[in-house]
């Protein structure tokens, strides 16, 4: 799976978890760009991504992301 495919899947997860069909992510997106993306829903997103890709993030990784691209990068390395 390449990074673009990961981004598409991550975008679908965001739509479902945040209950908003209009979310459109790119590699530069941050929490500021998505209204429903706050510290609480962040937990939901992490858990949903872990389940969907059957991976587990280390706690340091969760803290390190500045944008969606870095999150995708972490997922990519684990697959």
């Amino acid at each position: 799976m390449d990074k673009n495919e990961i981004l598409v899947r991550v975008n679908e997860i965001f739509k479902k978890e945040l209950d908003n069909e209009d979310i459109k992510l790119d590699f530069e997106s941050t929490a500021k760009d998505v209204e429903e993306w706050d510290s609480l829903s962040h937990v939901q997103l992490i858990v949903a991504i872990e389940k969907s890709f059957k991976i587990r993030f280390a706690s340091r990784e969760i803290q390190s992301w500045q944008n969606v691209g870095q999150m995708v990068e972490t997922i990519f390395k684990k697959l």
Partner: protein, 580 residues
Amino acid sequence: MYSFTELKKNLKKDYNSFRKVRLAILGDTSTQILAQALKGYAFHYQIHLDIYEADFNQIERQVFDASSDLYAFKPEITIVFNAVEKLLYKFNKCNPQGKMHFAEGHLQGISAMYEVLEEQLGCKVIYYNFCEIDNAVFGNYANKTTSSFIYQLRKINLELMRLAQYAGNFYVCDLCTLQNRIGRNNVFAANIYINTDMVFSLDFIPHVAKSTLDIITALQGKAHKCLILDLDNTLWGGVIGDDGIENVHIGNLGIGKAFTEFQLWLKALKERGIILAVCSKNTESVAKEVFQSHPDMVLRLHDIAVFVANWENKVDNIRYIQSVLNIGYDSMVFVDDNPFERNMVRNNIPDITVPEMPEDPADYLSFLYSQNLFETASFSVEDENRTTYYQTESKRVSAQKAHTDEGAFLESLDMTSDVQHFNKFNTPRVAQLSQRSNQFNLRTIRYTEADIERMGADNSFYTFTFTLEDKFGDNGLICVVILKKEDSTTLFIDSWFMSCRVLKRSMEEFVLNTIVSFAAENGFRSLKGEYIATAKNELVKDHYKNLGFQQKEGFWILAIDSYNAKGSYIKNKNVPVNNG
């Protein structure tokens, strides 16, 4: 189980028509996600939770400071949630002596907090007990020393149960058994904990929310009271009509074991006060023979309050059972192995609970355990006799058919009532009746055992309990009246509730005669009643009117001086009958 994402979606739905409950959450870790899950799950219980969430780690300050936000919020129920991770942290900071007495210290803290919450705020407390974790400092030897964390933790969990025995408004939500069921690895996610200070995984949160709401719902007086059972392949393996009594599966062999253990569970429920009824497509005599003569049957005919076996459809049969028991469909559970019957009942009687039974009878029990269908907020000795009440009730129904004149029938029952004030013997039953009576309940104010004790000791309240006994048997304590002194001439009827199984027995008249004589003897001039409508108490809408009260400014008034004692077929057990 609903996922957290599903629960969160519920938050956008309309809760306005639901009953509102003011709930405070005090936690020593982050509780925001738990609060969302509780509110979301409450949608499925038709409850609108109005939640106050304290900033975390403020438990003591909120409780012991009367000017805190908690006091301003005035919760009906407060959840106190100490996380096991924080408990371990505190334990690790203790010196060796402190570790050995850690449980006592913690319990004293909880108990002091409970007293303040109960007395100052008058609220009920739900305390989350501790999920067991072993820190592996001692290995298995931890079981052999009081210095180990697991020893102190288990002691706390046991002591919490002890505290709950005498602290009337203290309820333990048993997270430890939830963790046992779904496993520690599903309860805790270390990476989430480190990043958010949230100690439950998102998968565990819905379980916690359900268990909490089970308690809250029971406190609102909702409970399942009756379990209706199919027979073939539900109570025993095989089809009695085809296979014959020698060939049905029950006992210690093979799949029979699953049915025997299922019946043992049913028997335990019956002993706790759940009414068992049978609804089966069978020839009645054939079905009953298994109960009478199969040596391995655990349940016998005397365990079943209403036995319906015929070839009619189950919806009509359940309606018949409902009419005999006179309880709401929402307090009934129907268990049947056949998906067709389940769906038919579900579609026609929406309020009844119909668990989606697993295909393999070996899975019946663990599945039903996980559903927690029989949560309760009270338990009393009378519960154990409930089946007998309903069985004698059906005898009364037969006797009544022999009498065309209702008065003559009531006369023939030789009814007596034992009238008492609240005391330590009747407190549990009074509290239970207060929680459970929905139909014959004028104001539907729910009281717990602690409330009952308080009113019993308070001089401004006059309390009355009534039993009803007749020649067929004793119905036990079935009616309660609480009078409050409003001023020197007026007594306000704070509560009047009665079990529906004694309707139409002239109990209402007997009760009114009793309280009017009390009022007259103590110099009061009038009784003041109030009817507060709920979804379920339409039955007593005209209760005061029928008894001769006059409507005045939303209340019902009865003048004591001009009162003529009503005719009743019930005699006071403690007053000698004067025939002169």
